[in-house]
Subunit: 253 residues, 2 copies
């Protein structure tokens, strides 16, 4: 079994931050776009702007850049160096082929300076090269207890669902935050409710957990709520209410 | 200070369930619409269908019924019995006046058979009668460490925000659940992400926590995601993306 003793990480975004922390001194260098601005968290590592500056061949390059840049970074990576990328949505088959190319996708939201228990993060692994897939799975298993193989399509569908439950959920928090700020009310009053809303899913599925005026059919309250909303918040309320009703009817059938 | 030793609860919904549990043997009777169907959790209590069947005057009636029914229940309650109701959206001034009428609103989502740590639930208290307001606050403080006075307007605005962060958030979970079920993928893979999304709010505000393709300006990924969605899920994706952009621009100003 291959052990990846020397890892080079490309990119200095949120995923990169958490993988640098997780792999510790196995990360030997960072490849970044420019070196005139260096953040603290990778200042202890050599910062290179191209592979030419590397004085060793790493066991693995982990590409943690925007989806649009992955193709180009792979093309520039020395052909005999194993490469994995961390995107949820980029298909393996859309990338330039090489002996060892794989996916190392953490299904989690990461922010810099926010600690995350990486041992619980699901890692989705994929490679056409079965040996490399197994190696990547082993690597992920060293930092997480939740590792599985997933093909590009499954990973893509999970990413779409992740956008719904993370990006859009967070945006609802942001809209509520913005609304309460305007009314000079404290958003923190909602934190116990927000925590309960997510933790309920450990005990029941979201269809059964649905509460509120829409599911009760209380249109009078819905109209009163809509009176104090405007712009996107109002549009979101209307669409969500209609969608709750529609999904409920579908599940009643 | 009045101690409410005998409480009668009207209604047998989710809020009622958790207040019966919280107040234990201080709850002396339930008033329900019909008695031919009795759920286990209140089977130990006398079940009445009207106040006429009461053989004592309770210290407090807690009305936990749908918003549309509150007015009628108050009118039927003996005039000299103190009454509080648990709605987020019904204004005190819209209800028939009496000496002791107040609001006892728990800002939380409740489901039967799902344990909730009521000690962390914010209770919003209101009454025109200052003494009664203080009494209700004391009562709430016996079961929760998070009790505050709030007028009808503030309570209403908090309820609107609560609908956003709970009802609509849960609906996003339900849409993701439905989507992954159709793709034969396991919704539970999203649970660490969902938990992290909510718990992040203890460390940063939701504006700063926003991640994902929209905030990165990755329209290519957005288009790919939209290709596999349809119906309400697609509409929700489009509206959320536009709203994220709009709020981000507003905050950049």
């Amino acid at each position: 079994m291959k052990v990846f003793e020397s890892i080079v990480i490309v990119g200095r975004g949120n995923v990169s931050y958490h993988l640098v922390k997780a792999f510790g001194n196995r990360v030997k260098a960072m490849i970044v776009k420019e070196t005139n601005f260096i953040e603290d968290w990778y200042s202890h590592l050599p910062q290179l702007t191209s592979y030419n500056e590397l004085d060793f061949l790493p066991d693995l390059v982990l590409i943690c850049v925007n989806d649009t840049a992955i193709h180009e970074v792979i093309e520039k990576t020395p052909f005999d160096v194993p490469v994995a990328y961390t995107s949820g949505s980029v298909k393996l088959s859309d990338l330039p082929n090489r002996l060892k190319l794989g996916v190392f996708y953490p299904l989690q939201t990461f922010s810099k300076n926010v600690a995350t228990d990486i041992s619980k993060v699901p890692f989705l692994i994929e490679s056409e090269n079965v040996d490399f897939a197994v190696e990547l799975k082993e690597l992920a298993a060293q930092i997480s207890s939740n590792v599985l193989f997933a093909n590009s399509q499954d990973r893509f569908h999970l990413h779409v669902a992740a956008v719904m439950v993370n990006n859009f959920t967070n945006h609802l928090y942001a809209r509520a935050f913005d609304f309460l700020k305007e009314k000079e009310l404290d958003f923190d009053l909602l934190l116990p409710l927000i925590e309960e809303t997510s933790s309920k899913l450990n005990r029941m599925n979201p269809m059964d957990a649905q509460t509120g005026p829409t599911i009760r059919g209380d249109e009078k309250i819905e109209s009163k709520h809509l009176e104090v909303l405007n712009g996107y918040s109002k549009e979101i309320y209307e669409l969500m209410a209609a969608s709750i009703k529609s999904l409920h009817e579908k599940n009643e059938l």
